[in-house]
């Protein structure tokens, strides 16, 4: 804290950056969103109105209480009139897909006419009568933890690799960076799926997989900034004065690479949340009853016709959270004036 104050008196880089950051509307909006979600994640058990894991089965597939009748009439869709016109029920192949849900909802019979709800549902209820709103609130915890841990994994492996490549150069550099290029040739969703296939499905392994997938990006960013810092005169001077490699890396190089690292971390956080949700959606991340947003979307997929709200709100929560980190990352980048190489 004291150090920070010193900086602000001197109006150093950090102080200027902070002033610019405060002026940026986007960054402010991003920060508000991120803080809001962090708050929700911490307070979820106290602010969620109902139990996220147990529902009232008689209350299944209820729309949000404000979902008026002006909304798309489900009966009309179910009666098959529009479906026939569009060739909807004929179009999808029989193996898998949305086709199954059509059959499923037909079996469910008439929907919500004349049913009396036991509780009020802000975001509706799912097929086993759980409150979607409470589940979305609890989902913030999963996303936050997954984001934190996977970014930490990527940071802890990627930073030393990028430092080594940039600082020592030569063969070490080519070996590390070529390996990173090879890893990047495999699309990251596919790479994450393959790593989860090795480790086994589950939320912890998903975090590790996403962390590993992020490694090349961190390594590249760090290497890039090391290359520029390494040639600066004072680093050369420190070397001449006999400073050890460890000292130079710690004191001079790492501190000067901080700005791009902060930007990269914020943007990586966003993509980590997206990847984690994708793995959850594919059934490879958080497992079934857990109120993780991606896993909720996998459930919601079966309910697109009968209760679209079970898919709408968890996805909207992902967009909101990820957008927050992207806005923040962009804002910090502009404030710190970092030029990112992609």
């Amino acid at each position: 804290m004291k150090k920070l104050q010193n900086f602000s008196q001197r109006r150093g880089l950090w102080h200027d950056s902070w002033r610019r950051l405060k002026r940026s509307r986007n960054a402010g909006l991003g920060l508000v969103i991120v803080l809001l979600i962090v708050g929700i994640a911490i307070l979820a058990p106290w602010i969620a109105p109902y139990d996220p894991l147990h529902g009232i089965i008689e209350d299944n597939n209820l729309p949000p209480f404000w979902w008026g009748s002006s909304e798309p009439s489900l009966e009309e869709v179910l009666s098959g009139q529009k479906a026939k016109e569009s060739g909807l029920s004929l179009s999808a192949p029989l193996d898998g897909g949305v086709q199954e849900t059509t059959v499923f909802t037909f079996d469910q019979g008439p929907l919500n006419e004349g049913r009396k709800a036991h509780r009020r549902y802000l975001f509706g209820s799912d097929d086993v009568g759980r409150d979607v709103f409470s589940r979305v609130l609890h989902g913030a915890r999963y996303s936050l933890v997954i984001g934190l841990i996977s970014v930490l994994v990527g940071l802890c492996i990627g930073t030393p690799l990028g430092l080594a490549a940039g600082y020592w150069g030569g063969r070490i550099d080519s070996f590390i960076m070529r390996s990173m290029d090879i890893l990047m040739a495999i699309p990251y969703v596919l790479l994450a799926i393959l790593i989860v296939a090795i480790l086994g499905p589950g939320i912890w392994n998903a975090m590790i997989a996403i962390g590993i997938v992020q490694v090349p990006q961190f390594a590249r960013v760090i290497r890039g900034s090391v290359l520029t810092v390494r040639e600066l005169e004072y680093v050369q001077a420190a070397k001449v004065l006999g400073a050890s490699d460890g000292h130079i890396i710690r004191i001079h190089i790492l501190r000067n690479s901080l700005s791009p690292l902060i930007v990269q971390t914020s943007l990586t956080f966003a993509s980590a949340i997206l990847s984690a949700a994708a793995l959850g959606f594919l059934g490879l991340g958080a497992q079934a009853p857990a109120p993780e947003w991606g896993a909720m979307l996998a459930d919601g997929r079966k309910l697109l016709l009968s209760s679209p709200w079970a898919a709408i709100f968890p996805g909207a929560a992902i967009v909101f959270f990820v957008l927050g980190f992207n806005l923040l990352g962009d804002g910090i980048r502009d404030a710190l004036d970092v030029r990112m190489k992609h």
Partner: protein
């Protein structure tokens, strides 16, 4: 160095890259637990039968022997046979790849045209309302989980409005024999407009879904690259001597701003291949993505190897093309 030599070198450079790539993929798949012999013979196989199967598959050899055998077969174009379906991986690949490529190319087309257009206008009218809306939407675009976007498109356009089908490549009532597997091309070539319209209707939602992220990325890159170019002195000079605005933007500025955009387009192709897994799952699209995912979940090792290798090779190939394109886009680049 002459351009021809550079291109030749760049093409030859693919060989070591693909070799290392095949090694990395081989090692990753090697690490996936599961015994192919067990999967082929089922849970009740006798130990002797398992042993014989392992021997015939070469699984009792050390890994480097197996890698050498794998490369040897790969060079002959043999990717093995799927454990689950029994068909050769190559024939399955030949069946699924056109579906994914058709989807990806269509999506890329949407992303490139709309993305460049939006970025272009945003840079030209910087700080206008259009600029703000376009840049905010592109930020939302990169924040959307594409499978969720797919659901929303299905809810809106298929279930509520009933305009477009929910999934698949073609209506099952239509009997159409495709020769190349590219349904849109084939139906257009055959002059069969009903089929072409049906295929296009099926293609629309999945390709919009897949195009969103690349479109947003391309729009942002085009804008920032254009803005940087527009600040250059020679643009001011051109403007001063009275060059028309459209010509100034499209010839003077865009040509120089194109390089980062082309790079991003190349990198986005890799994204498209990964995004295809999710998009194909949402829209029941019978392509590489779903096939590969089923292979991974079912521990169908030859399918995982063949599919991953195919996807990664496409990425390497596209980036080679991008590297070669640089030379033609910017005569200053000489290697």
């Amino acid at each position: 160095m002459r351009t021809g030599t550079y291109i030749l070198r760049r093409v030859l450079y693919m060989i070591p890259v693909l070799l290392v790539l095949s090694f990395v993929i081989f090692m990753i798949i090697e690490a996936i637990p599961g015994d192919p012999a067990q999967i082929m013979l089922g849970q009740h196989a006798t130990p002797e039968a398992l042993e014989r199967m392992r021997h015939s598959l070469g699984l009792d050899q050390p890994w480097f022997t197996r890698y050498a055998l794998f490369i040897g077969r790969l060079l002959k174009g043999d990717l093995g046979s799927s454990i689950l379906s029994g068909r050769t991986v190559l024939s399955e690949l030949g069946e699924k790849a056109p579906a994914t490529l058709e989807l990806s190319i269509f999506a890329l087309f949407i992303a490139v045209t709309l993305g460049i257009l939006a970025g272009f206008i945003s840079a030209w009218k910087q700080n206008s309302l259009f600029d703000y809306i376009a840049m905010f939407s592109s930020l939302v675009g990169v924040s959307i989980p594409i499978y969720w976007l797919g659901f929303m498109l299905i809810i809106l356009f298929s279930l509520t409005l009933g305009w477009l089908p929910t999934g698949g490549r073609i209506s099952s009532l239509i009997d159409f024999q495709s020769t190349t597997g590219f349904l849109l091309l084939d139906s257009l070539a055959a002059g069969n407009w009903t089929v072409a319209a049906d295929v296009a209707r099926h293609l629309l939602l999945p390709s919009i879904c897949l195009a969103t992220v690349p479109m947003a990325t391309i729009a942002r890159m085009t804008r920032s690259s254009m803005l940087e170019t527009l600040n250059q002195d020679y643009i001011r000079t051109a403007r001063a001597k009275g060059v028309k605005v459209m010509r100034l933007l499209s010839v003077h500025a865009f040509k120089n701003a194109a390089i980062p955009v082309v790079t991003v387009v190349g990198l986005q192709f890799g994204y498209l291949m990964g995004g295809a897994i999710l998009t194909e799952m949402v829209f029941s699209w019978p392509g590489i993505g779903r096939w590969l995912l089923d292979g991974i979940l079912g521990r169908d090792f030859p399918v995982i190897t063949g599919g991953t290798l195919f996807v990664a090779s496409i990425f390497v190939l596209v980036n080679m093309v991008v590297d070669i394109l640089y030379v033609f886009l910017d005569p200053r680049i000489r290697y």
